[in-house]
């Protein structure tokens, strides 16, 4: 039980995570294929300045924002579905985004006249639209959001079917395979300032809503009947929370592809540090997600430099390893995760 009793104050954890993120962002803007040199020379070397300002800083900040969106979405999903295994992708947004990207690649990916930027913009848009449509499909199949088990099942079904369709497109058009694989593994390397501003904007909106509605998640931990008996407007709040969840996930997926495990692991990591209500929970999960993806992004760039590993591979390995450790520790101590 040792690790379980030693809980920290939420404020201390929040401040530590902010410091960690700031450190990660500084480091992230300093390392890359050209090493520390660009950072040191940035003051009087235009090329170096450009590398730091136009490439490294936005992608680093972008990684932080995307991780924060996923961490926030994970905390919302786990609170809303009252299931510690819930993750941001379970409403079908991941497979919807994959299908959107597959369709976009098949339509104009092979076109030699499409510029890199256009393809990139098109893919981001297609992924977002795909994610949103998939969530809408899940909601339609589940006939609303009030029945959470039905919602989970509908999400699984939509995920499988849309995933199969995306695979079918990839099979029929082998030339999109590489682009598709890149998306499925997740990557932080293409984000510019626009992506950053967009993600931080969405993050702010989502955080405000999640924070405001968090007391309903607190009440839901005591069961639906009790939450209702406390006079809470469960139905409209659930709709709002699903919208926030879908928006946060869709935005992150559109910019970075399918980054695995951050949304699942971030809330669990927070819980292992603090016992707190959902207002702190959503905030800390967002910070934790940001720190996680920042760390993964750094490792992705450093581990096989000057080459780069897809960040999703790293989050999958690290996140999976962490969950496995958590499971074994739980079994060994009999403590609940």
């Amino acid at each position: 039980m040792t690790g379980h009793c030693a809980r920290w104050s939420p404020l201390v954890v929040a401040l530590s995570l902010v410091v960690l993120c700031a450190f990660g962002i500084a480091l992230g803007s300093a390392v890359g294929s050209t090493g520390f040199e660009s950072w040191v020379n940035a003051r009087h070397d235009d090329v170096a300045w450009q590398i730091v300002w136009e490439i490294r800083l936005p992608r680093t900040l972008g990684a932080c924002a995307a991780g924060a969106l996923l961490g926030l979405a994970g905390a919302l999903a786990q609170g809303l579905f009252r299931n510690p295994l819930a993750d941001p992708y379970l409403l079908g947004s991941a497979s919807g985004a994959s299908l959107g990207v597959a369709v976009a690649l098949a339509l104009f990916g092979g076109n030699p006249f499409a510029t890199e930027l256009l393809v990139r913009l098109g893919l981001t848009g297609a992924a977002f639209v795909g994610a949103v449509l998939a969530v809408l499909l899940t909601l339609t199949l589940a006939r609303g959001v009030q029945h959470t088990l039905r919602l989970l099942l509908a999400g699984v079904i939509v995920g499988v079917v849309l995933g199969a369709m995306a695979s079918l497109i990839t099979l029929m058009r082998p030339d999109v395979l590489q682009g598709m694989q890149g998306f499925l593994l997740g990557s932080t390397s293409f984000m510019g300032w626009t992506s950053c501003v967009l993600m931080f904007g969405v993050l702010l909106v989502c955080l405000v809503f999640a924070f405001g509605l968090s007391r309903v998640l607190d009440a839901l931990t005591l069961g639906e009947a009790t939450a209702l008996s406390l006079g809470l407007p469960l139905a409209p709040v659930r709709v709002a929370l699903v919208c926030v969840l879908a928006l946060a996930t869709g935005t992150a997926v559109a910019q970075t592809g399918l980054v695995a495990f951050v949304g699942l692991a971030a809330p669990h990591l927070v819980r292992s540090l603090v016992a707190t209500k959902h207002n702190w929970m959503v905030l800390l999960s967002a910070l934790m997600g940001g720190a996680l993806l920042l760390a993964a992004d750094l490792l992705a760039r450093l581990s096989i430099a000057p080459q780069e590993m897809p960040v999703g591979v790293l989050t999958a390995v690290l996140g999976g390893g962490y969950l496995l450790w958590l499971m074994y520790r739980t079994q060994a101590t009999g403590a609940k995760p």
Binding site: M1, H4, C5, R7, R82, G212, R215, D218, A219, T221, L222, G223, A225, T226, L228, S229, L230, G231, L232, P233, R271, A275, T276, K277, A335, K336
Partner: protein
């Protein structure tokens, strides 16, 4: 008692769950400031009835709380007057005991307001009353089943509602804490709080003021716990496998072997 307004009363209430009617026309009246226990065999519809009284289920027929139609009341107003303690409701392990009990103050708080001094005081009194004060900093996951039940009871007490509905409140409680609960309820009714509880243990249920006996979705009997007719009705719904006797000024239910 009869001249006063009843705390809760129902008129011809029918409930359909999953396409099957589980309550077939319930007419009941619960006296204010009294403790009523609901007993009956498994599947009699006791928990469903309690949910109806809490306004948690759609019904045909009418339910009134202090003569106001329950389902038409404003959510928050209802939540301030009616407190609910459910059965086997999974509570997440991560919330601190203090935060759990503070959830009971929600009907009295504004949406984003921080707890007031009064809220804190009420939570402390509720935690003391169920002897859960010492664990206030622990998370729910670190408590045993019985300890957890006492925290949830404190949560229900913290609402300070005029009517308390409890479904199997004695689940997981050891004998001394069952007696504590009994005294707690007596104390509540002394302050004119109405308590309605579904109880499995007939012996405990017989300590109430009134008893509602249910079978197969119908009310078989409603009467005072001290009344012989009530005892006969209880024995009948349990197939005469138990017998109710007087012992030291209390009623006890013993198995008929």
């Amino acid at each position: 008692m009869s001249a006063l307004i009843p705390a809760l009363h129902t008129r011809d209430v029918h409930v359909v769950l999953g396409g099957r009617e589980v309550l077939h026309g319930v007419d009941l009246s619960f006296g204010a400031g009294r403790w009523t226990s609901i007993v009956g065999p498994n599947g009699a519809g006791k928990s469903t009835l309690l949910k109806v009284l809490a306004g948690l289920l759609p019904v045909t027929g009418e339910v009134f709380l202090f003569n106001q139609p329950l389902l038409a009341m404003a959510r928050r107003q209802r939540a301030q007057q009616l407190s609910w303690l459910g059965q086997n409701e999974s509570a997440s392990d991560d919330l601190r005991v203090w935060d759990v009990v503070m959830l009971g103050r929600m009907p009295h708080q504004d949406w984003l307001a921080a707890p007031s001094d009064q809220d804190r005081q009420v939570v402390e009194v509720a935690l003391q009353a169920t002897q859960a004060w010492d664990w206030r900093e622990r998370s729910l996951g670190q408590l045993s089943g019985g300890e957890r039940q006492r925290v949830l009871l404190a949560r229900a007490l913290a609402v300070q509602a005029q009517v308390m509905l409890m479904d199997e409140p004695l689940a997981n409680l050891d004998p001394p804490h069952q007696v504590d609960w009994l005294e707690q309820v007596r104390c509540l009714t002394a302050q004119h709080t109405t308590v309605i509880s579904v109880l499995h243990e007939v012996g405990m249920a017989l300590h109430a003021d009134d008893m509602v006996v249910m079978q197969a979705g119908r009310i078989v009997h409603q009467g005072a716990c001290a009344d012989g007719a009530t005892h006969r009705a209880v024995e009948a719904v349990f197939d005469h496998r138990i017998a109710i006797h007087a012992l030291d000024g209390q009623w006890v239910a013993v198995p008929k072997l």
